[in-house]
């Protein structure tokens, strides 16, 4: 026999995402990078090393830290990062 079942999965978007993406031709030396530290122990060390590695390869590296790993970055911080940066690295998992 055939059972007809209601899917428990909810509705997804149709796969289209609206975003302003970097051009694949963008030169790293022209880019501004932001490092958003989520407050975990190793984020500080990782991003310090990353900042050193990127400094001579991109136009500018900026950093900020969330108040706590468990809370979202505040809206003003996110807006400022979006306004002033070409791409963001955030983390870390642990």
């Amino acid at each position: 026999m055939q059972l007809e079942l209601v899917s428990p999965m909810g509705k997804s978007d149709d796969g289209k995402v609206q975003a302003n993406l970097l051009s694949v031709d963008a030169e790293m030396k022209d880019l501004t990078v932001h490092l958003l530290d989520n407050g975990k122990w190793n984020a500080n060390h990782l991003f310090s090393s990353l900042e050193t590695a990127l400094q001579d390869r991109v136009r500018h590296v900026s950093r900020s830290k969330k108040a706590h790993y468990s809370v979202n970055a505040d809206t003003a911080t996110i807006q400022e990062i979006a306004r002033s940066s070409d791409f963001v690295v955030t983390g870390v998992g642990d």
Partner: protein
């Protein structure tokens, strides 16, 4: 066929096994979410099944009433539980709860659902013996409905988007009621500002409960010393980053505290003073060298003093004190938290 319907070929004998093939389960068998059973849940709250309620991270798929109802049917819930299930899901999808992080964390964290008010009686929520389980149907299936929705709509499955290193039995179901009738204090929801006649769901970013055994003492200081000691473990997140904690005081302990005239605020202040971790412990007992530097510690915490003791919560108000459990047995429980803003409460509305 409507676009949220799935056809499955089964036999009268094999249907439970066949449902596993769909990947909608939590390891336990699920009840088939047929359209007519799902519709009973939608009717119970007077909402169209197509209504979109909230997006559930990390997938951010839209939770429709039908999808949530399907998860509730699968969990074995009754339609009369549905307002509570919806309120709990609404609470955990509030931005301040940061469900995305809860769903994906390497920690054992899961939402603890606490129920207060008349709803406990209306749907026979267990607040007494065996409050953390197993059973009864109401507690377990409400918790399971929420978890199945988190997995199916939210998309967080172990080893995939749910990155929890160890998992947690409470990730199957975690729903309790407060035993307001034997508490010497006001109900938890009243302490939070709700009216006594409100039915309220409170969700908390929680670990599993840690038992506190104290069969020796009727003295409040001694009972609370046991609880404070359990709160002072190095193994939970509060030790490193504070946050909130839930303390479930068992009725025998609660009677002793109440008879001695201790208010809830007295309990919170005593625990705040005593539930602390020393610098020596943070150095893992290795003296002479600071092995652990916590950049989150504020300036008022004296890193240079071996006698300094770090509180596991930021303030006494971050210790959420409630009463639950059976009449026999001098036990309480401590439930460490995970994040800073770990608590959201919602009124459960039967009329939507």
């Amino acid at each position: 066929m409507a676009n949220d319907l799935v056809a499955l070929n089964v036999t009268e004998v094999s249907w439970a096994e066949e449902l596993y093939s769909l990947g909608w389960d939590d390891g336990l068998p699920v009840i088939p979410p047929t359209p007519d059973t799902v519709e009973k849940f939608c009717s119970a709250v007077g909402l169209s099944g197509e209504l979109g309620l909230f997006r559930m991270p990390p997938s951010n798929r839209l939770a429709t009433v039908r999808a949530v109802a399907a998860n509730s049917v699968m969990a074995g819930a009754k339609p009369e539980y549905f307002p509570t299930i919806l309120a709990a899901l609404s609470a955990i999808t509030e931005p301040e709860f940061n469900l995305h992080a809860v769903q994906c964390s390497t920690h054992v964290v899961t939402p603890l659902i606490i129920l207060n008010g008349p709803i406990r009686h209306h749907i026979e929520i267990n607040c007494a013996a065996g409050v953390f389980g197993p059973g009864p149907r109401s507690n377990v299936t409400i918790g399971r409905s929420v978890r199945l929705a988190m997995m199916n709509i939210g998309g967080a499955r172990p080893g995939e988007l749910d990155r929890s290193t160890l998992g947690n039995p409470a990730k199957i179901s975690y729903c309790i009621g407060e035993r307001e009738e034997v508490s010497p204090w006001s109900p938890l929801h009243v302490a939070m500002g709700f009216k006594p006649q409100d039915s309220v769901v409170t969700v908390f970013q929680a670990e599993a409960p840690h038992s506190v055994t104290n069969h020796l003492s009727s003295d409040p200081y001694e009972i609370l010393s046991s609880i404070a000691s359990t709160m002072s473990s190095m193994g939970h997140n509060n030790a490193w980053l504070m946050g909130k904690m839930v303390v479930v005081v068992g009725p025998e302990h609660a009677i002793s505290l109440g008879d001695a005239g201790w208010a809830r605020s007295d309990v919170q202040r005593y625990l705040y003073q005593r539930a602390r971790i020393s610098m020596s412990e943070f150095q893992f007992g290795r003296l002479g060298k600071e092995r652990f530097y916590n950049r989150h510690w504020p300036v008022w915490f004296d890193r240079g003093s071996a006698e300094e003791r770090w509180p596991v919560v930021e303030s006494p108000d971050d210790i959420i004190v409630m009463v639950a459990g059976g009449d026999e047995g001098r036990f309480s429980a401590v439930i460490p938290g995970w994040g800073l803003r770990a608590v959201v409460s919602k009124v459960i509305s039967a009329d939507r």
